[in-house]
Symmetry: C3
Subunit: 132 residues, 3 copies
């Protein structure tokens, strides 16, 4: 297991971590298999989506804010209940196939760390499973 560390800058933010993951795949020398990317936090998540136009990430964050408004009558008293809900909607992990030592991402795909309660220092776990 390897850990990528990052410092988020905003309350809510998508951070493209594709190149960090690709670098870890290269360092692992795995030729073929899968790469699991996992967030050990409960107010952040991971998603794969378009990284060419940054407006896509902005739109996803906007849509999530509309779906899970800060103004609801939340029970959780720390003020970050919406961040927990958003984390469960996007999910805590993504998987990517590794072929020829590289992530088999689609043309427009990037892997995003989804910050829902920043800014914070965060970690992302990576685990490679190689073909026999």
């Amino acid at each position: 297991m390897k850990t990528i560390e990052l410092q988020t800058r905003h309350k809510e933010e998508f951070v493209d971590i594709s190149s960090e993951i690709q670098e870890a795949v290269r360092a692992s020398k795995i030729e073929r298999g899968i790469c699991l990317v996992y967030v050990p936090h409960t107010t952040a998540g991971l998603t794969i989506n378009e990284h060419a136009d940054p407006d896509v990430a902005t739109d996803i964050l906007m849509a999530l804010k509309r779906l899970v408004p800060d103004s609801l009558s939340w029970n959780h008293s720390e003020g970050n209940a919406p961040a927990h809900v958003k984390a469960s909607l996007v999910g805590s992990s993504v998987l990517i196939i590794v072929e020829g030592g590289r992530l088999a991402l689609g043309t427009w795909q990037g892997v995003f760390f989804c910050e829902f309660d920043g800014p914070r220092r965060r970690g992302v776990y990576l685990k490679m499973l190689a073909d026999r």
Copy 2:
């Protein structure tokens, strides 16, 4: 493959199954690898989120009920269409890294079985993939 069986008590409920999964990891004697947790049902799901404060699970269920109201004009005639939608929103599986024979969960993370159409007798599949 191993199966955890559980009996849910309510129509909608999050059940923390982290310790049952940890016990299965221990019994499998796997030191390092990944653990796949999978729900073979279509009106239930799995999510990883905060288990320290039970209000977080309550808030997620409340938010999902607001997102997918029972009162919409559903086509599916069994009366549980909202449960199917919620199952697809949270997802049917979660993955956790295993290190040193233990689940590498974050400090606040627990694994929840998400019941959306209970009470029912349910099963959860576990599959370990060990490092070579």
Copy 3:
């Protein structure tokens, strides 16, 4: 890695690809392990849900359209921002356990390709990881 190709017919559509995946598992001759199903697109996703009654897929699409309306003030200029959001809500991959050379799906479960911006020619990646 293997690729399933498909041609979607509508703007939004769920296509049951369970039998294509099962056929690929059979061809791979894997007896036990996991099968990763992955979509290399950013306006499509994958979900596991009921395949017995096609109304369930219709209801999920209807619920997603209500959650992510076309009419919001989207930043992304290509007109398919809602499709990107829906892709992140359902997710880009699903995992299924393989036992005895067959997908260990629940009785009512099918694997659906979720088209949110069709009709298009699409691909789905499959990756098997066998037990040692």
